[in-house]
């Protein structure tokens, strides 16, 4: 990216502009058409090949990720394997050169990320996943921005799921602890009442106790019928709760199976789970 004529040329002077919080998603792009595509899993990114930007190198190579309704699918793999990239590809944040993405029987490959949100996908990025300067409640309200109906009951549902957020509702989200921030982030994504929730390393940087707590909540969300696709560093714990697991290596599927079968697979254990 540093070769772009539009970068900052080394100028970091913040009085020239508010570079913090700048987005990376191209907002001027428009969605292409969608069409019916029956007989596939609830959400599937099939045979995806592509990378970031218009001319970026391919990061994914014929990679397939799928999740069924109400199930939890987990993507694990070594650093730089393209785990997050694979998930972002299903969310339309990549230029796919090959492959397609289907949600609930509709091919959505041509849709922009924002239109996928309207179609029922919720995405929690790994970083910068809350509005730090806004209160917890305002964060949730913003999550419900697409809703035209009364979103109060949904906020109450989120508060039931994460009681601590109700307590801190009027506090700026940026002042919360790491685990609480993740709860705000997941809560915000739930406000659209998505059919699929994509979580990019939801437990990064939180303590083991908070991690177990978060996983419990994630299971609870899945039980309510929302499919969950999750990228995780903590492979063991994640595969424990997963209905389906994908092990990626260098942007391609290395192993696929149920969470349990992957845990039992000696090759997977040796290479990714530390024996």
């Amino acid at each position: 990216m540093s070769n772009s004529p539009y970068d900052d040329h080394g100028n970091k002077d913040l009085s020239l502009g508010n570079a913090k919080g700048m987005g990376e998603i191209d907002t001027t792009k428009h969605s292409g058409p969608t069409h019916e595509s029956a007989g596939e899993p609830f959400l599937i990114g099939a045979n995806m090949t592509g990378g970031y930007g218009k001319h970026g190198p391919d990061i994914l190579h014929d990679c397939t990720i799928a999740v069924e309704k109400g199930e939890i699918a987990v993507i694990v793999g070594p650093n730089g394997a393209g785990k997050s990239t694979a998930m972002k590809a299903t969310f339309g944040m990549l230029n796919l050169r090959k492959g397609h993405v289907t949600l609930d029987g509709v091919d959505i490959t041509g849709l922009t990320p924002q239109d996928r949100v309207a179609r029922g996908m919720g995405f929690v990025p790994q970083n910068n996943n809350i509005f730090t300067s806004m209160t917890v409640e305002e964060n949730l309200e913003m999550g419900a921005f697409l809703r035209t109906d009364d979103y109060r009951p949904i906020i109450e549902q989120v508060y039931d799921l994460f009681p601590i957020l109700k307590e801190k509702r009027n506090q700026p989200a940026g002042e919360l602890s790491g685990g609480q921030r993740q709860q705000v982030a997941v809560g915000r994504a739930l406000m659209t009442q998505p059919k699929v929730l994509l979580l990019d390393e939801p437990t990064a940087g939180v303590s083991p106790i908070v991690m177990d707590e978060l996983f419990d909540r994630i299971i609870e969300v899945a039980r309510s019928g929302i499919s969950i696709l999750m990228v995780e560093q903590n492979a063991k714990q994640a595969l424990d709760i997963a209905d389906k697991g994908y092990v990626l290596v260098q942007g391609a599927n290395a192993h696929t199976g149920t969470g349990k079968s992957l845990m039992a697979d000696p090759e997977v254990r040796a290479s990714f789970l530390g024996g």
Binding site: Y6, N18, K20, M22, L146
Partner: protein, 336 residues
């Protein structure tokens, strides 16, 4: 010693002018801060946008005057302000469509867009001069004073007179109304909150279903409103000359930075800090001091720290001091 007369002189020559000027700067700085916070660049074309907006107000004022429409004691320009805002909105949205949108799509970093706005500034600059010329224009009409010096003296029996111009009263009242409306909008309405969300985190706002192009559009329209109102009030209060408006860029930016770039409260505070310092440093204090001090201490000189020609130096000095001592500004803006 005559403290009452000292107070009247102080009010007349320092407090009222500084309040008025501060209100004008605050409105201007609010526009700068909105563009900075939401569109993420320091808009060099701000002063000339102000000149353009005021020009449209002036043209409509003249039209109304020629048609015999007036507001009685209030300036006719008030009637023309909505047209000015509409015209400026069209200009800004057109510029955004043709110029800024391209750079937004490239995810151009602020420094690039700042330079772009410099180019836009020159174009606006030429546009205003092409249509209205470079000369000073007068468009104020209606009742000139709320309080006249002579009447005040007769009323109170004091030696010092106090004048309070209609335009000064109008400026202060309008600024208060506009600021309250803007804060209510940003903190209480859905659109306002979505703008704050966009300023905080663009991608997350997008993923929450907030339409960035709409946020950008609303921002430009609000900026058009702020700029046109500020420019018209300044022109009514002082006079209209495109070059003066271009020069206003400096105190306006100083105000926004002193208050804390990106912080609306800061923009207002900064506006008043700059205005009061500018007026206080360039005012000849002799008159006030003669009243306020015992005879033995009366000054012989004018006690004017700087000639009025140097008033821009004051903005610069404050700017430098603030950037050295507290770079985030009074209200912790975003620049560090």
């Amino acid at each position: 010693m005559d403290l009452l007369n000292a107070l009247v002189a102080l009010t007349n020559f320092v407090l009222i002018p500084a309040m008025t000027y501060g209100s004008q700067l605050a409105l201007g700085a609010l526009g700068v801060t909105m563009v900075y916070g939401i569109l993420r660049f320091s808009n060099f074309a701000h002063g000339d946008t102000m000149a353009f907006g005021t020009m449209i107000v002036i043209l409509f004022t003249w039209l109304f005057q020629s048609m015999g429409i007036s507001l009685g004691p209030l300036p006719t320009a008030l009637l023309a302000i909505p047209f000015g805002i509409a015209g400026t909105s069209l200009l800004l949205l057109g510029t955004d469509r043709v110029v800024y949108r391209f750079y937004r799509a490239q995810k151009a970093k602020p420094v690039i867009v700042v330079m772009v706005s410099l180019g836009v500034m020159f174009i606006y600059n030429g546009l205003t001069r092409f249509i209205l010329g470079t000369n000073e224009q007068r468009f104020a009409d209606g009742e000139r004073f709320i309080i006249r010096a002579r009447e005040f003296k007769e009323m109170t029996g004091l030696k010092e007179g106090l004048t309070f111009k209609t335009t000064q009263g109008l400026t202060i009242v309008t600024a208060i109304v506009v600021v309250i409306a803007l804060f209510w909008f940003l903190n209480k309405t859905r659109t306002g909150k979505s703008m704050r969300a966009f300023s905080d985190n663009e991608d997350l706002a997008l993923l929450s279903g907030i339409n960035p192009e709409r946020v950008v559009m609303v921002t430009w329209i609000i900026v058009a409103g702020l700029v046109t109102i500020a420019g018209t009030l300044y022109g009514l209060d002082k006079s209209y000359k495109p070059f003066t408006y271009f020069q206003l860029l400096l105190p306006i930016f100083a105000a926004a930075i002193v208050g804390g770039l990106g912080s609306p409260i800061g923009a207002i505070a900064g506006g008043f800090v700059i205005a009061f310092s500018e007026v206080a440093v360039t005012y000849a204090w002799k008159k006030v001091l003669v009243y306020a001090l015992p005879e033995s201490l009366e000054p012989e000189s004018l006690v004017q720290l700087l000639a009025t020609e140097y008033k821009f130096a004051v903005s610069f000095m404050i700017l430098v001091i603030v950037l050295l001592v507290r770079p985030t500004g009074i209200f912790k803006g975003k620049s560090v």
